[in-house]
């Protein structure tokens, strides 16, 4: 094929071919080259190059990069994806949802959703590569093992298959706990991808495969929900539970002033010092833990939301700022209140 002599820089042409969807490449590249040639004759090299770069910049548009309008995904798959995302988001914040109690059950559901985010993170890079291949496939194009998703499926499954023996060895040799939940997730992901690979083996015509979309979106949504909704809900709930104790702490101190020592139990305060002992949750079912010390006392409560720990919130008048042998302590905005995470 005959080429004209003055062409735009090769890197710019390579970039153009990389950006534009294969279905539009020939026509857009031709248009830009024709314009370049005409500008070169009329206004010289610099103007032609400048306008070529402007034209190149102008094609950076989602519809020209991905050809999204022609990406055929069954509506059912879209609905399934939205449904899974909603389930993951709801499950993640379950411990703080109205009507739910902050207990082991809601904590387990939340941990499951959060684990999807953490474990799924490892697969996002492979999911992204697969998604780009999937989105840039052309209608009616002949598929090979890369473009039909066969190899990309293996790219996702390989790290899981490598991780599994490692996990088992660590359990046997290193005496580490064999976490059932991540194991269950890994097994289901492996099963799903073996099924997908079998299906993709004989795929000849291009049809959008939503599997990479699931791999990328679900962990991202799980992580974002954990970071921006669950953590904030935990802070809000902690603050609320701390503020609820203000009359209780005042009553304990009043008891001490009048009787010279702190009460043995909170129940001793009821009636004379406080009309009703406050409880942690809105349903008024979970009491605060109270412990009398030598010239001091400690109030505490637990929040179950963290993906692998229990949050313990403590009020201590002895000046103690931590529990021996425990994890890092975090201060709160309230005097004598701090919290830490325990197994």
């Amino acid at each position: 094929m005959e080429q004209f002599e003055n062409t735009p820089p090769n890197w710019a042409l390579a970039l153009l071919r990389f950006i534009v969807h294969p279905e539009f490449q020939e026509e857009i590249e031709g248009d830009l080259l024709e314009k370049y040639e005409s500008d070169l004759q009329k206004d010289g090299l610099k103007a032609a190059q400048r306008r070529f770069y402007t034209g190149l910049f102008s094609v950076v548009k989602p519809s020209l990069i991905f050809n999204l309008n022609h990406t055929t995904m069954k509506p059912r798959n879209g609905l399934v994806l939205v449904f899974i995302i909603l389930v993951v988001m709801t499950a993640s914040v379950a411990p703080f949802l109205p009507g739910f109690t902050n207990n082991r059950f809601s904590h387990g559901i939340s941990q499951f959703a959060q684990n999807i985010g953490y474990i799924g993170m490892a697969f996002i890079p492979f999911g992204l590569i697969w998604l780009i291949i999937e989105i840039r496939n052309k209608k009616g194009q002949k598929l090979n093992r890369w473009t039909n998703g066969y190899y990309p499926s293996w790219l996702v499954i390989a790290p899981i298959l490598l991780f599994l023996p490692l996990k088992i060895s660590l359990t046997i040799i290193g005496d580490q706990p064999f976490d059932l939940l991540p194991f269950a997730i890994i097994i289901s992901v492996v099963a799903f991808f073996i099924y997908r690979i079998q299906k993709l083996k004989g795929k000849k015509d291009y049809k959008f495969n939503p599997a990479p979309l699931y791999i990328v979106l679900i962990p991202v949504i799980a992580l974002l929900t954990s970071k921006f909704a669950l953590e904030r809900a935990a802070v809000f709930s902690r603050e609320k539970a701390i503020l609820k104790t203000e009359p209780l702490i005042a009553a304990i101190e009043k008891y001490k002033t009048e009787r010279g020592e702190y009460p043995e139990k909170l129940e001793e305060l009821e009636g004379e010092y406080i009309p009703e002992i406050p409880r942690i949750n809105p349903q008024n079912t979970i009491p605060y833990h109270y412990e009398k010390g030598k010239g001091s006392f400690q109030l505490s409560f637990e929040q179950l939301w963290h993906w692998n720990a229990t949050e313990v919130v403590v009020y201590n008048t002895s000046g103690q700022k931590g529990i021996k042998g425990n994890y890092e302590n975090h201060p709160t905005e309230h005097t004598n209140w701090w919290y830490y995470f325990a197994d």
Binding site: F4, E26, G30, S58, K61, S63, L64
Partner: protein
């Protein structure tokens, strides 16, 4: 239909089978004085093709295009109807302006 879409569809109709990316940009500039980037024109053309207002076919490859083929656009019957509909709406709006309250030629 947006104003830019209408302009491009009119240009495609005017060019009667000879409309492709660069030629549309030149024709638009000659007739309206408006300039447009290749990306903007291509996006609108793809959108109009999806809506069934234009069809396209590959044409010849030329030397100045680096051997790449042109993609020629043609207006469809649906596109023609859409343009006629737009024109009628505009005409009705023009006709609805009260004659007494309209000073032609003055600002």
């Amino acid at each position: 239909m947006g104003e830019f879409e209408e302009l491009i569809l009119l240009i495609v109709a005017i060019m009667n089978g000879k409309a492709y990316g660069i030629s549309i940009i030149e024709e638009l500039e000659n007739r309206t004085g408006r300039s447009a980037a290749i990306g903007a024109i291509q996006t609108v053309l793809k959108r109009m093709e999806d809506k069934g207002w234009v069809t396209s076919d590959f044409g010849e490859a030329t030397k100045e295009r680096g051997g790449k083929r042109k993609r020629y656009y043609n207006i469809t019957v649906t596109g023609q109807k859409k343009l006629a509909q737009n024109r009628e709406t505009r005409n009705n709006l023009w006709d609805a302006i009260p004659k007494l309250g309209w000073n032609y030629g003055t600002v």
